[in-house]
């Protein structure tokens, strides 16, 4: 009876996520059958929840209000209310999915439909990254603007369908803008600096800046051909697509959760990074607040001077806050370690250091001409030793993890779809190289190759299988 990460069957759209999670609350239950709280499947839901809630009404609709009532109630009352609400929920988890209030719009395959996202069915952050990297790999294999456009479309659609309201989810727009900027910069450079691409369609001729002899091979201005611009456009589009795919991963996966999946020995480093990440937005907020506060002193809020003048107070504020967080972490047990025998400690140190040295020596061996023979084994050995060191180091940790993300079937599907896109695109590179890299000399209109296009569409899978984030979860 520990909280099962229920890959929950479909729930009604208006049901709050947190509420359903409570379905998994471990509560001691009497062994015998409980009339009223354990209705048989299909038994009337309304009377059951009516009994459980007393004055409640339909549990699924009232759950949220019930939870709110708890907050508002006086202490004496709260216990009973909590009990009542919990009963309602428990009853609901027993009778989930049955006899739900009549609701239209039940599309095909109810059980296969993506559930409402919550803590317990959250997709592993790694799955999103694998998916996004898969798309990015595919993008790096082609310059066909149609395929790249499809990749951007796929990533954008999935982001639109599955991103949350969280702050990190808003970074997607920034990545798209960055991508566009990359294309523009690439085009401008190509036009101004010229390009090795030979071309016959001269679009315009920029005034050429005469350069001294030592700068031979560099050209400023001059002819601008359609071919070179198209080539630059394709190239820029590829880079932009890569960036947008990374942006999608950023928007979809909670970075803090990803760091939490680190091995135990690296956990503390992970926490430090998480804390640092929450500090960046805080500092930005400080800068904004102090800049507007300058107005109160009758000073202009813009300009370099403003930023310089508030620099020190902002840093002081950040420092104070980090000291406060450090105090809080210390008082809450951060850094408690288990007693480990000195032998284990020394072994850990030796393994880690030796391993890292091995990795260094091994890579040197691999790269240098004369050491090819021993390079690989030393590298692998060093790697294994370092991993062993990490594992042993983890034994000093007493900390446990609260509800880590699990890699469930949906995570497999999401990650798998990305891998499939990448693999199919790489494969397509061998049998349809021309379609993936449409020629620019002579200029030809790019065509959409059927099979690679179909492969890209596989990347849409997460938009259907990943749990749906609740709408306007924070209001």
């Amino acid at each position: 009876m520990t909280g099962p990460p229920v890959p929950a069957p479909p729930d009604g759209p208006e049901q709050p996520a947190g509420h359903r999670l409570l379905g998994g609350v471990p509560r001691p239950r009497p062994a015998g059958p409980e009339p009223g709280t354990h209705p048989g499947p299909g038994s009337g839901r309304s009377d059951e929840s009516g009994a459980a809630h007393g004055r409640g009404g339909n549990a699924s609709a009232e759950g949220e209000r019930g939870a709110r009532e708890i907050g508002a109630r006086r202490p004496g009352e709260t216990e009973r209310a909590a009990g009542r609400a919990a009963e309602g929920r428990r009853g609901e988890s027993g009778g989930r999915g049955f006899g739900r209030a009549p609701r239209e719009r039940r599309p095909l395959g109810g059980a296969l439909r993506a559930p409402r996202a919550g803590r317990s069915n959250a997709l592993h952050a790694g799955a999103w990254w694998v998916w996004a990297l898969g798309l990015a790999t595919a993008a790096s294999r082609t310059t066909n603007p149609l395929l790249l456009g499809m990749l951007v479309g796929v990533a954008g659609y999935v982001v639109a369908a599955r991103r949350t309201d969280a702050p990190w989810a808003r970074s997607y727009g920034a990545f798209v803008k960055l991508g566009l900027a990359v294309i523009v910069v690439r085009l401008v450079f190509s036009a101004v600096l010229g390009s090795p691409v030979p071309g016959t369609h001269v679009l315009l001729t920029l005034p050429e800046v005469p350069l001294p002899d030592w700068a031979q091979g560099v050209r400023l201005g001059g002819r601008v051909t359609a071919e070179q611009l198209v080539f630059a456009l394709y190239d820029g589009a590829k880079l932009a697509t890569l960036l947008i795919c990374l942006g999608a991963a950023n928007a979809l996966a909670n970075p803090a959760r990803l760091l939490k999946s680190l091995p135990g020995a690296l956990y503390e480093a992970g926490v430090a990074v998480v804390v640092a990440m929450t500090f960046a937005p805080n500092m930005v907020a400080d800068v904004l607040r102090l800049r507007t506060a300058r107005r109160l002193r009758g000073r202009p809020t813009g300009g370099v001077k403003a930023v310089l003048q508030i620099g020190l107070p902002v840093l002081e504020g950040a420092l104070e806050r980090s000291v406060a967080v450090a105090a809080s972490m210390d008082a809450r047990g951060y850094g408690r370690t288990a007693q480990v025998p000195p032998a284990v400690r020394h072994t850990t140190t030796a393994l880690t250091l030796g391993g890292l040295l091995g990795v260094c020596a091994g890579s040197y061996g691999l790269l240098a001409a004369e050491g090819a023979g021993y390079g690989l084994p030393v590298l692998l050995g060093g790697f294994a030793a370092a991993l062993g060191g990490l594992w042993l180091g983890g034994r000093r940790q007493v900390r446990t993890r609260y509800r880590p993300d699990r890699w469930g079937p949906r995570a497999w599907l999401v990650a798998g779809s990305g891998v499939v896109v990448a693999a199919l695109m790489i494969r397509a590179g061998t049998y349809e190289p021309l379609a993936l890299h449409p020629g620019v000399v002579p200029l030809t209109a790019p065509s959409l190759p059927l099979w690679p296009a179909a492969a890209v569409l596989v990347g849409l899978l997460p938009a259907f299988v990943a749990p749906v984030p609740p709408k306007e979860s924070s209001s």
């Binding site: 520990t2 907050g71 609400a85 107005r295 109160l296 210390d330 809450r332 900390r399």
Partner: protein
């Protein structure tokens, strides 16, 4: 459970005077103990010593012995006490390590290495206990103050500590959120037997829940421990309910409104028939009373009306003159009307008569205005519009053009103001106007839009709709250097205004910013904050001193309108009463003051008018007594005790007896 044995703490050099000295204190298991005393007396240091953060984290030297549940803090580091002591500091946001509610609740348990199943169960229990279930997935940054405080308490509760240490848990909260938190604390003490040690300045909120009170009267003086009623009977800091009890001579001394009400029957009958003064004290109240009488007398004869006004202007300065025409008791809802009257009054005789008549009507009687203001919230917008129209008509009849930009009688006018933060409408159709010499308190729960409204008055927030006029200018389009002469805001964190590293440099900069004569700011600082040297670093000042410094800085440009955001946060009673005196003085000089505050006692003491915001809309706007007396959340303790009589402060009652 907690034992202090002859504890002294010294920060810095060995020669420095100890922050805390010779404290002997025992807190038995399952008690809620309240630590009381002025700022700087070492309360936070004592609290820190319980969790071991003092001296392990903060540095300094601790002499004597502190044991918690038998563990000596000298030999146990804070992290090794983490399973026994839960500590929540003053700012819950600084306490958070993770980014969502659920993770935050689990963090402490993760550190202690509890089994996942146990963690899961305790998180669910704590979510229910603190009423946080619907917030479980929310990012911490999006929570309101009360919610944050509850999450912070929850996050230290999950490891099931035996001792909970809280530093000012309710200071930053609105009254309702504070009650939420206190209800939770009481529940922990009663049901779970948790020992709670807490420091709090807002005694009126907490003293009734305490089992014992530890009074630290002044730095270096020995602490006194005892039952709350005993300690309160001689404590220099005390909530209004205790002050009233001492005034009326009730024994045993009541600590809660309920106890006091039981005793108050006799006091209520004594006060029957006596109506409280329109304003607590100060020249303003008297001036207003006088003007009212004159205005009524003068309604018949025009020249007399003008003379009356002239007298007042001569007698008590231009501020009072303007105030004279206003009828603070009942005019709150029609500032425009009042403004129109004031404008016309001194200039032409017929208009003067109109003004007098209107004032007389406005002042008819507080009793009549009571029900009217209760009716108002519903039809407020319409009424306001009507009166605005009436005001215009009247001034037009008086031969005055309406709506001139430089209207000396209205410092700030906000009409149908809407403000959006992204998708959230922070303010919707807000109307407000502030007259010289008037003190307006903005109240409402955290996030109701109080700070946004203040921000829009100083141009920090751009309105999405409606208009804001301050001194005839639109704030967000006015250059800051010019705006500081019209309006000043002391932000929630006065430190935001301080950039320099000495008080002297800060003052010099303020003079330069405001274009004032050198020494203006320093003069203000000396009057508001005597005994602070020029070379003091602003960070070394106490909360109250820093507030006074910020106040002096923004007053350097002599703005007629002064805004304060949560001025009493973190202030002890002494600092608060100094602030009250300063603000009253400013109002008497003719400054208009708007303060956003959760402190109902402060509002009762100085506000002429209370505006309550909820969800970005004005839900009540009227004279303090009318708005506040009937409200369960915003009524000061004296009003609760003496309801339905409209008494607000102990000083009022004292004056009447």
């Amino acid at each position: 459970m907690i034992r202090f044995e002859n504890v002294s703490v010294t920060y810095g050099d060995a020669g420095a005077p100890p922050t805390v000295s010779g404290v002997d204190l025992t807190v038995p298991e399952g008690e809620l103990v309240l630590l009381v005393g002025p700022s700087g007396v070492g309360k936070s240091t004592l609290l820190g010593a319980v969790s071991g953060l003092v001296p392990h984290f903060t540095g300094g030297t601790l002499r004597g012995r502190v044991t918690v549940d038998g563990r000596d803090t000298r030999t146990h580091k804070p992290r090794e006490l983490a399973d026994v002591v839960g500590t929540v500091g003053q700012d819950p946001l600084a306490h958070f390590v993770t980014d969502t509610v659920e993770d935050e609740l689990a963090y402490g348990m993760e550190s202690l290495g509890l089994a996942p199943a146990v963690m899961r169960r305790r998180v669910e229990e704590t979510l229910d206990l603190l009423g946080l279930a619907e917030l479980r997935d929310r990012p911490l940054a999006t929570l309101s103050g009360g919610q944050r405080q509850r999450v912070a308490i929850g996050s230290v509760l999950t490891p099931h500590p035996k001792v909970l240490v809280l530093d000012e848990p309710t200071s930053a909260l609105d009254p309702a959120a504070a009650e939420e938190v206190l209800a939770v604390l009481q529940r922990l003490v009663h049901d779970l037997g948790t020992t709670v040690l807490m420091a709090e300045h807002r005694l009126e909120r907490v003293v009734q829940y305490a089992d014992r009170v530890v009074l630290m009267p002044a730095p270096g003086e020995p602490s006194v421990t005892g039952a709350p009623a005993d300690v309160m009977s001689f404590s220099p800091v005390r909530p209004p309910v205790v002050a009233l009890g001492r005034l009326a001579g009730w024994t045993p001394l009541p600590l809660s409104v309920r106890d006091a009400r039981r005793n108050a029957g006799e006091l209520r009958t004594r006060l029957e028939g006596v109506s409280p003064p329109a304003r607590v004290s100060g020249p303003a109240a008297r001036a207003v009373d006088a003007s009212a009488a004159r205005a009524v007398d003068a309604a018949a004869a025009d020249p007399a009306a003008r003379d009356g006004k002239g007298d007042l202007v001569a007698g008590s300065g231009p501020g009072a003159g303007v105030r004279a025409g206003r009828a603070p008791a009942a005019e709150a809802d029609r500032p425009e009307a009042a403004g129109g009257i004031e404008r016309t009054a001194p200039r032409s005789a017929p208009a003067g008569a109109g003004a007098a008549a209107a004032s007389a009507r406005g002042l008819a009687s507080p009793a009549a205005s009571g029900p009217a203001s209760r009716r108002r919230p519903g039809a407020r917008g319409r009424t306001a519009a009507l009166f605005r129209w009436l005001g215009r008509g009247r001034s037009a009849r008086g031969g005055e053009p309406a709506g001139r930009p430089h209207d000396p009688a209205v410092l700030a006018e906000v009409a149908r103001l809407g403000v959006r933060h992204g998708r959230i409408e922070a303010l919707r159709r807000v109307d407000l106007s502030v007259a010289p010499g008037e003190t307006v308190a903005l109240m409402g729960r955290n996030g109701a839009g109080k700070s946004t409204l203040l921000g829009s008055l100083v141009g920090m927030v751009e309105p999405a709709s409606g208009t804001v006029r301050v001194g005839g200018r639109t704030p967000h389009r006015t250059p800051p250097a010019e705006l500081v002469r019209r309006v000043a805001l002391v932000p929630q964190e006065p430190r935001d205004l301080l950039y320099a590293d000495t008080v002297g440099a800060e003052c010099a900069a303020a003079d330069a910013d405001a274009g004032a004569e050198p020494g203006t700011c320093r003069g203000l600082v000396s009057s508001l904050l005597p005994g602070v040297a020029d070379d003091t670093h602003p960070r070394d000042l106490s909360e109250g001193q820093r507030l006074a410094l910020a106040l002096a800085i923004v007053l350097t440009a002599r703005p007629p309108l002064l805004l304060l955001d949560e001025p009493t946060r973190g202030l002890d009673y002494a600092a608060k009463s100094r602030l009250v005196a300063v603000l009253r003085g400013l109002a008497a000089e003719g400054h208009g003051i708007v303060l956003a505050t959760h402190d109902v006692e402060l509002a009762a003491e100085i506000a002429d008018r209370v505006v309550i915001l909820a969800g970005g809309e004005v839900v009540a706007d009227g004279p303090t007594a009318d708005v506040v007396v009937s409200s369960p959340a915003f009524a000061p303790q004296v009003a609760k005790i003496l309801a339905p009589q409209p008494w607000l402060t102990v000083a009022q009652v004292e004056a009447a007896l």
